[in-house]
């Protein structure tokens, strides 16, 4: 067998890392452009787009755009609203969808397959087609709160959360993952005396790490990027999320530097969330074959 010399090996590594590096740079460019531009005044920002300077923090660099963004819109409130809506939806969705999938995979009951089919069929229905009926429904739903019984959920967190907790795609991902768990583990737990609830909590969920991460990230991105629905159901600034908040910067005098500053700010939670779950996310994409 021919030995690969040290030099050949090194050359291969260099080529491999150069290619990977170029691909990485391609993906990072828009992000770099956004962040770099957020520190530039509008005139320079537009001039720089003609050259590589667009990606470099050069020229008149300042945090003025950020200060202006905060003056123009309640950025902190929008980010807070989005984090609350997204966070609560993700947590509830993980609980509800995994429990539903558990019942579909492990518990035998009449009509199970039919209902699962119906839920999976909802995957092909675009949200836009049900948005109007959903709006009508949301405007009439009852709620018992501090003011007693009221009707209509508009202008609230719950109207942005509840419709998205049960999610066909999430249930499908959990179902696929649970089907691959060895059935004997569940049977062993049953023989050992565990109830369905205990099997869910003590056996299935501790083994569901990768699919939990996948669903969490997919749900997080979908919820954080929500635009149409909050635009329809939230008229008051108090509950407005980040994407709808972007409108504040597309008024009469369009300030690109401020837009870039705002976008950089609202990207931070996404990056943090992704970095935390990155490893589990990649592992589960590799195992489920689901594209993000």
């Amino acid at each position: 067998m021919a030995m690969i010399s040290g030099d050949t090996h090194r050359l291969r590594l260099i080529v491999r890392y150069t290619i990977l590096g170029l691909i990485a740079v391609m993906f990072v460019f828009p992000l770099v452009f956004m962040i770099v531009s957020s520190f530039k005044p509008d005139l320079q920002l537009l001039t720089d787009t003609g050259s590589l300077r667009a990606f470099l923090p050069v020229g008149d660099i300042s945090v003025n755009n950020y200060l202006a963004a905060f003056r123009r819109a309640p950025v902190g409130l929008f980010i807070f609203n989005s984090v609350v809506v997204t966070g609560v939806t993700v947590v509830l969705s993980l609980l509800v969808c995994s429990a539903a999938a558990f019942a579909f995979v492990f518990v035998e009951w009449r009509g199970r397959d039919l209902i699962l089919t119906i839920i999976l069929a909802t995957l092909i229905v675009p949200f836009e087609t049900i948005a109007i009926p959903l709006l009508l429904l949301a405007s009439k739903l009852p709620w018992i709160g501090a003011e007693g019984l009221t009707f209509g959920w508009l202008n609230s967190y719950r109207v942005q959360i509840v419709p998205f907790v049960a999610d066909g795609l999430a249930i499908f991902l959990f179902v696929q993952y649970f089907k691959d768990l060895p059935g004997e583990l569940i049977e062993a737990a049953r023989v050992e005396g565990a109830s369905w609830g205990q099997i869910y909590r003590k056996v299935v969920m501790p083994l569901a790490g990768p699919v939990l991460a996948t669903v969490a990230i997919l749900k997080f991105l979908a919820m954080y990027n929500q635009y149409l629905w909050p635009l329809m159901v939230v008229q008051e600034e108090t509950y407005r999320p980040v994407m709808v908040g972007l409108q504040y910067f597309f008024q009469l005098n369009r300030a690109w530097g401020e837009i870039m500053a705002y976008l950089s700010l609202i990207t931070v939670p996404v990056l943090v969330f992704y970095l935390v779950l990155q490893r589990a996310f990649i592992a589960s994409i590799a195992s489920t074959g689901v594209k993000g």
Binding site: A188, A194, Q198, L207
Partner: protein
């Protein structure tokens, strides 16, 4: 501890009957092995006893109580699975204690039980490891440990040794036998390996196509198989089965003949057998010896020398092949003509329907 009674037990999946009315009585403290080929329904039967499969008909009682509709956890059973089914995210200690934790047993009592099980199975040093850090044999021990701590009335084993390598299987087999002696619990064990069945069982249940073929002690099954299926299934090498014609009957003997055998008078009650019937003579390879009894002459086709015995495959005059297990290291070679013989009292005779005739 408890006895287990299966009465007319049936299981169907839609129109397909997989268990067709099984009656078995298992005494308290007995080690019973269900054995049969793949798909014979033995695992299904075990899972019905465990409560993991619904019962379509008949009754199942454990300790005198009918448990047809009792959930698995309330049947006082513990089960060891073929894949071990130990929880990968828990340590050995947590795995063994799982059932006790579910039952909310006080911590001190729980720890004492886990320690005792670990001592019996010699796995004290493994308690803080994860399943991924254990070998196959060690995982099997954990699964057995999890069954022991709950002190069930009945232990159920579903092919527990089939994922182990040959040497380990022999070791674990002995340990299981010892465990049964120590615990004196009722144990029901499913396997397709007849050596496991023969060595472990107080009583063997041979199943085929969802029907019990014979229930008996290992030696009863070996010496007096009830039918051709059991005759062919129990014993290694397999029993030689030769077609013969009935040439004469008395109240206590059947005379049979064939080109290979000549004519032989065998001590069996004829039952419904009459002269001219085509019946089957069964002779175990180990019942054949050189220079004794009724002869079966043939040419040696193959010789396997195992040291303590020599297995020879012979071709008889009719072209039929038989196996003879000859004691010791015999100096025979391929191509030799030999004529091993058997004692008529050691043979088995099966009527036209394949049912064994009773010895006179």
């Amino acid at each position: 501890m408890a006895n287990v009674a299966l009465t007319g037990l049936k299981k169907s999946y839609g129109p397909v009957d997989v268990i067709k009315g099984v009656d078995i009585a298992i005494e308290d403290g007995e080690f019973v092995v269900f054995v049969g080929p793949s798909g014979c329904g033995k695992s299904t039967l075990l899972r019905m006893i465990a409560g993991l499969e619904d019962i379509s008909g008949g009754t199942l009682s454990i300790g005198g109580r009918v448990v047809n509709d009792v959930p698995p956890k309330d049947r006082r059973i513990a089960m060891v699975f073929q894949s071990y089914a130990i929880f990968p995210h828990m340590t050995v200690r947590e795995n063994v204690a799982f059932g006790l934790t579910i039952a909310k047993m006080p911590k001190k009592e729980k720890e004492a039980k886990v320690a005792e099980a670990a001592r019996i199975l010699q796995m004290e040093h493994l308690l803080d490891r994860r399943p991924s850090q254990l070998s196959g044999g060690q995982r099997q021990r954990v699964a057995i440990g999890r069954a022991i701590v709950r002190e069930p009335a009945v232990f159920l084993f579903d092919e527990p040794l089939s994922n182990l390598d040959a040497a380990l299987r022999v070791d674990m087999r002995m340990e299981l036998a010892k465990l049964h002696q120590d615990l004196k619990a009722t144990m029901i064990y499913v396997t397709h390996d007849q050596v496991e069945a023969m060595t472990l069982a107080d009583k063997i249940v041979v199943l085929n196509a969802g029907v019990v073929q014979q229930v008996g002690t290992p030696l009863e099954l070996y010496h007096s198989p009830a039918n051709l299926f059991v005759a062919g299934f129990i014993g290694s090498p397999k029993m030689n089965l030769l077609p013969v014609t009935v040439e004469g009957v008395t109240s206590s003997s059947v005379t049979v003949g064939s080109p290979d055998l000549g004519v032989a008078m065998l001590p069996f009650r004829p039952g419904a057998v009459v002269v001219g019937d085509q019946v089957t003579l069964g002779v175990r390879p180990h019942m054949l010896g050189l220079g004794a009894g009724t002869r079966l002459p043939g040419a040696v086709q193959l010789v396997e020398r195992l040291g303590n015995e020599t297995i020879a495959m012979l071709r008889l005059k009719s072209g039929q092949e038989i196996t003879a297990a000859l004691g010791g290291d015999q100096p025979i070679r391929v191509g030799d003509r030999i004529d091993p013989g058997f004692a008529p009292t050691a043979a088995a005779l099966f009527d036209t329907a394949g049912i064994a005739l009773t010895r006179a």
